[in-house]
């Protein structure tokens, strides 16, 4: 512990604590803009400067560690004047079209300007004329609105190890873009959207498709159905003032009905089906030695894209099962349409996802049209849905809870924990255990795959056989796992793992790129807790015990990995180039 004073107050903190965090500890908030709570300081904006007695320089509190005996001033007339000048300078280089901006009312720059009471622009307007890049149709970069805080570049390079985004040019011409000034769609971008989740302004947002959904809903010729992913239910509350991590499943169903959807499904049901197929596939590979080990999960489209681009030699290790929402999608236009005597062409399937990449997944290969038409028509992110609910004048907070449409809507605890890192693994192991032993396990048997540790490795024993597993989240953490596997395979050794789960985003889908802005570890944990609490409460916690899953197999699919399953629920992967041009 070291001791220093901030504005005359004594503060004791651990060595290495930044001045910013030390001040926070004694309830002094130093204004910041570029600093993100969980990311290393990029030190770009200079707003958090403080004075330290004995030096003429002012130092950035976001990245300067507190030193013993320092006497720090965080607020005085000169500091406030400099901060105000910097904010005015940044605003002189910003479109200030807040009313037409995706981050209106939810923008860190706007908030700072409001807090400082900026009422006029003393400086000349320097606007950069750089066109938007919406080439990926998942995320949109508007360089004009960028304040060059560098969070997205840091996230893309360090957290995700994708290196699609970097800085180009210099001085006032500096901008974020893929190297070589190409479109994002032609770059290695895997569309995870973490850049947008960390962006303080409207410079990176999701590709908005709410208009298309409104049109479909008002089109009397269309039969609109919808599904919501597990992670959406524990994050949407942030847009309506609920405490972090509140699980709002019932209210969501009600709101979606009010929006005009004819049937409400749940992706967690798809997750239960995924487990049936994936656990069978794993049993095939592990017990019957058919197929490569380790087997790697494929629920995450950014991860799939990453693998196809960066590690195409690992494709054989991929589970061929589609992601849960694709399964609900294809079933809605086959199984559900058949039961309800609907024309699949008229069924419009909307997926509400915590994810920007799902917008890409729905057309990524021919198998996404397994029903004969495009299985999922539009993907909306959690953020887009929140806006639609508000536009529709729905009093979300006071809605009574409703039920989903049962045929593709009921799920077990195993299905809902898919939204958190380790969830797929835990759910799959619960069912794999049954497939291998014929016996059900306790709910908390495989709990140690939970939590925010970047790579979680463990060994479990089923029927005396040891299964080595790894769970990685955040693409930056994947490399270590993959390198370990590659090295073992190359050396002809036993692979270090039998089963690997990967999610592109930190924390899994709860931390997805389409979730409400301002994601932090604290939020990721709160959202995950919301899902695990539901699992705790659910009587059914094993996918193979879901009565509607049982009915689906009895009436339609017949058996996991069967002929119908293979046609509808499985897919293929292929190597893709990092750069398309």
């Amino acid at each position: 512990m070291i001791s220093a004073t901030i504005n005359g107050q004594i503060v004791n903190v651990a060595k290495g604590t930044t001045i910013l965090n030390a001040a926070k500890k004694i309830n002094i908030n130093i204004p910041t803009l570029c600093k993100h709570l969980d990311l290393d300081a990029t030190a770009a904006c200079g707003i958090c400067i403080v004075k330290i007695k004995g030096t003429k320089k002012m130092l950035r509190s976001c990245c300067t560690p507190l030193e013993k005996g320092m006497e720090i001033i965080t607020h005085d007339n000169q500091l406030q004047e400099i901060r105000r000048t910097i904010i005015e300078l940044i605003l002189s280089n910003h479109p200030n079209d807040c009313l037409e901006c995706g981050r209106n009312n939810n923008c860190e720059l706007q908030k700072l300007a409001a807090d400082f009471g900026i009422r006029e622009q003393p400086f000349k307007r320097f606007l950069r004329q750089i066109p938007k890049d919406d080439s990926t149709k998942t995320i949109v970069i508007d360089p004009q609105k960028c304040i060059l805080c560098g969070r997205c570049v840091q996230v893309c390079q360090e957290m995700q190890n994708v290196w699609a985004l970097s800085f180009l040019e210099r001085g006032l011409e500096t901008r974020i873009s893929p190297a070589g000034d190409i479109n994002l769609a032609d770059s290695p971008c895997v569309r995870c959207g973490q850049c947008s989740a960390h962006c303080p302004t409207g410079a990176i947002t999701e590709y908005d498709q709410t208009k298309r959904v409104w049109q479909a809903l008002y089109d009397t010729d269309k039969y609109c159905v919808v599904q919501i992913a597990p992670a959406v239910r524990v994050a949407i509350g942030e847009a309506f003032g609920f405490p972090d991590g509140t699980n709002l499943t019932g209210k969501l169903y009600a709101a979606l009905r009010k929006l005009g959807f004819k049937a409400i499904f749940d992706t967690s049901f798809g997750a239960d089906v995924t487990i049936m197929e994936e656990a069978s596939e794993f049993t095939q590979r592990f017990v019957n030695k058919k197929g490569k080990l380790p087997m790697i999960t494929t629920c995450c489209p950014s991860w799939v894209d990453f693998m196809e681009k960066f590690y195409p030699d690992m494709i054989e290790h991929f589970s061929s099962v589609k992601s849960p929402h694709e399964i609900v999608g294809v079933l809605s236009k086959t199984y559900y349409a058949k039961i309800n005597k609907l024309d699949p062409k008229k069924v419009t399937m909307i997926s509400i996802m915590p994810c920007t990449s799902k917008k890409y997944e729905i057309t990524r290969s021919q198998e996404m049209f397994a029903s004969g038409v495009q299985d999922i028509d539009v993907v909306l992110t959690t953020r887009e849905l929140a806006r639609m609910i508000k536009q529709a004048g729905i009093d979300f907070a006071n809605l009574s809870e409703e039920e989903p449409d049962h045929i593709l809507g009921d799920y077990t605890g195993a299905g809902v924990i898919f939204g958190a890192t380790g969830g797929v693994m835990e759910a799959a192991l619960r069912t794999a255990h049954y497939f291998i032993t014929g016996k059900n396990v306790n709910k908390l048997e495989f709990e140690n795959v939970r939590g925010l540790k970047g790579i979680k490795e463990t060994e479990i024993e089923i029927k005396g056989i040891k299964i080595r597993i790894a769970v990685a989240h955040g693409l930056g953490n994947v490399e270590l796992v993959l390198k370990k596997i590659q090295a073992a395979l190359k050396a002809g050794k036993e692979p270090p793992y039998h089963f690997v789960e990967v999610m592109a985003c930190l924390g899994g889908c709860v931390g997805g790129g389409g979730q409400p802005y301002g994601v932090t570890d604290q939020l990721r944990l709160a959202r995950a807790r919301g899902l695990y609490t539901e699992d705790d409460k659910k009587e059914l916690y094993l996918s193979h015990d879901n009565p509607y899953v049982k009915k689906l197999y009895k009436d339609f699919l017949k058996e996991p990995l069967g002929k119908v399953s293979h046609e509808l629920l499985h897919t293929h992967y292929k190597p893709r180039p990092l750069y398309r041009k």
Partner: protein, 580 residues
């Protein structure tokens, strides 16, 4: 094989062409005494002596003859070169204001020959270090010498070394910062090209002192000759066992490698330079951690400027006390300046710290061109400031320059006369920093552009008095909140001109006039009727047809049509066009 070298130069003229006759006559005189194979005559570009006619320097005897006539050559050969006699009448009586330590070998030795360098006591400092001193001993010698970094910051060199020496690590690095980028500066380049081994020797000693096994030269790619000569010198040093394993038979191993910079000014900043060597975008990072603790590839790293390193062998050879005798209390040794602007003898000079600006401008520089009045001196390049003429008796050292609102910087020095506009000069330097801003931090990226825009407005007649407040406000924000030295110092030229020449700004803003008649937009061109010979030359060159009239009635300039290009002023042979 030549035994003796004689340098000649006609110091009244630029260039080498003027010495041809003297050279031939000299050669003739040598032949008569049959000395042509023993004595080599070298025509040099700069001798540090100005406006003294033909100058002959015989370095071995320390003889300097000036105002030499052709008829003196016979005597020089027969008396001085043959008999070693000094001809009193020719001896240059001026006190030598320059002192060459860093440039000691430049122009004296063949930079591509390691033997030439060794002949001039080269690598003797290293020998002393490796055989007699431990790393702390070396650092102590540098501490006693009082050497401060010559790259601009003026940070004590021994402290940098000491930090790195004390940090425990499996690898450490020393980097030579040869990313010289100030407009008009070529001090480092001259050393790299003229005496590469002295820098290499400095690097090896530094490496030994901090415990590094590897060093890098970071040289901008625009210096191809410097790169070539450094590479050549590295190869030679390796061949002679001065680099590589077991240097001079000791257990010290050290090697050097060159990394090329792409010429971004900001890469002279230590953390940006490190990023550039690592192959990343050259942008600065916050400090701490300092490079001496966590630098190149996360290892303790010392970055020294070329000039600093060239001082090192000299200090160890002559002893720190000898070095510390030169200079002022807190600024020891010499400094190389590139003296330019409105001065008669512009060029590279090396002077002891503590010399006055007056001595530099008038004694070494020979005064101002056309004997105009001195207005100010700009020092420190784009991060520096202007010092008005009234401070001309100030002794030059780190602290004095900083007290006057300027800096030593890497050694740019520009002499400004009454025809130079200080607002224009501030604009020039600010533009340089705006162009070179890496764009990472907001105060520098946007603040610099805003300030430049205001200065453009002022010099083009659109300035307002409130602009001065804006300039001051942005300057403070940039100085205090920019991440690196580039942004922190970029407003200096503006602040110092505002401090000393506020009236000139006011004149631009209130009366829309440039007192130096430099700012084109603020000039009014007029035909002076009494002087006009009515040749009509101005009419023919005017691109906008702003000049009307005829031979009988004379000519007039329509100020509305005039775009102030200055063509008529230039073409008029009778000085009949006025601009004010």
């Amino acid at each position: 094989m030549y035994k003796k070298t004689v340098f000649i130069k006609d110091t009244n003229f630029q260039g080498l062409g003027q010495t041809k006759e003297l050279y031939n006559k000299f050669l003739e005189a040598l032949r008569k005494k049959n000395l042509q194979d023993k004595i080599q005559i070298v025509r040099v570009a700069d001798m540090g002596v100005y406006s003294k006619g033909f100058v002959v320097r015989i370095p071995d005897e320390g003889i300097l003859y000036c105002n030499v006539k052709i008829e003196d050559l016979k005597n020089i050969v027969s008396k001085t070169l043959v008999n070693g006699q000094i001809i009193k009448g020719l001896q240059c009586d001026r006190v030598e204001k320059q002192l060459r330590i860093v440039l000691r070998n430049c122009g004296v030795i063949d930079p591509e020959s390691i033997l030439d360098y060794v002949d001039c006591d080269g690598y003797q400092g290293l020998k002393k270090v490796l055989l007699d001193l431990d790393p702390l001993g070396v650092i102590n010698q540098i501490k006693l010498s009082g050497l401060r970094g010559r790259g601009g910051g003026g940070f004590p060199t021994w402290m940098k070394w000491n930090f790195a020496q004390k940090t425990q690590a499996d690898e450490k690095y020393i980097i030579c910062n040869a990313d010289e980028g100030d407009p008009g500066a070529y001090m480092d380049r001259s050393v790299l090209e003229g005496d590469p081994h002295s820098v290499i020797e400095g690097m090896i000693i530094g490496g030994y002192a901090i415990g590094a096994r590897k060093g890098y030269f970071y040289i901008r790619a625009e210096y191809p000759l410097a790169i070539e000569r450094i590479q050549n010198a590295i190869n030679q040093a390796r061949d002679y066992g001065l680099l590589g394993q077991n240097i001079l038979g000791t257990d010290f191993n050290f090697d050097l490698e060159i990394r090329l910079g792409a010429g971004a000014f900001v890469c002279g900043e230590e953390t940006a330079l490190i990023a550039s060597i690592e192959g990343k975008r050259g942008t600065p990072s916050p400090r701490p951690p300092y490079p001496s603790v966590k630098g190149l590839w996360g290892k303790p790293t010392v970055i020294n400027n070329v000039e600093t390193l060239a001082n090192i062998p000299y200090i160890l050879l002559k002893g720190p006390k000898f070095f510390a005798k030169i200079g002022t209390k807190d600024s020891k040794g010499t400094k190389v300046f590139s003296l330019t602007g409105k001065v008669k003898n512009s060029g590279l000079i090396e002077v002891p710290m503590g010399i006055t600006l007056k001595d530099i401008v008038y004694d070494i520089g020979g005064g101002l061109i056309d004997n105009k009045q001195l207005k100010a001196i700009q020092t420190g390049g784009p991060s520096g400031g202007v010092i008005p003429a009234k401070y001309i008796d100030t002794p030059v050292d780190y602290d004095n320059l900083s007290k006057l609102g300027s800096i030593m910087g890497s050694g740019g020095m520009i002499v400004i006369d009454q025809t130079d506009c200080v607002v224009d000069i501030a604009k020039f330097y600010l533009k340089f920093c705006v162009d070179e801003s890496c764009g990472k931090c907001a105060p520098c990226r946007i603040g610099g552009s805003q300030m430049l825009d205001i200065l453009i407005n002022i010099t083009e007649g659109r300035g307002k008095l409130e602009d001065i407040d804006k300039l001051k406000r942005i300057s403070t924000a940039m100085q205090k909140a920019s991440l690196c030295g580039l942004g922190q110092t970029a407003p200096n030229p503006v602040i110092s001109t505002l401090t000393y020449f506020f009236d000139e700004y006011k004149e631009h803003i209130e009366n829309k006039k440039c007192p130096a008649h430099k700012c084109q937009e603020l000039l009014d061109y007029k035909v002076i009727e009494e002087k006009c010979k009515r040749c009509g030359g101005c009419v023919r060159v005017c691109p906008t047809g702003a000049i009307s009239g005829n031979r009988e009635d004379g000519y007039k300039i329509d100020l509305v049509k005039c775009i102030k290009c200055g063509k008529c002023f230039e073409v008029c042979r009778f000085a009949a066009i006025s601009k004010e």
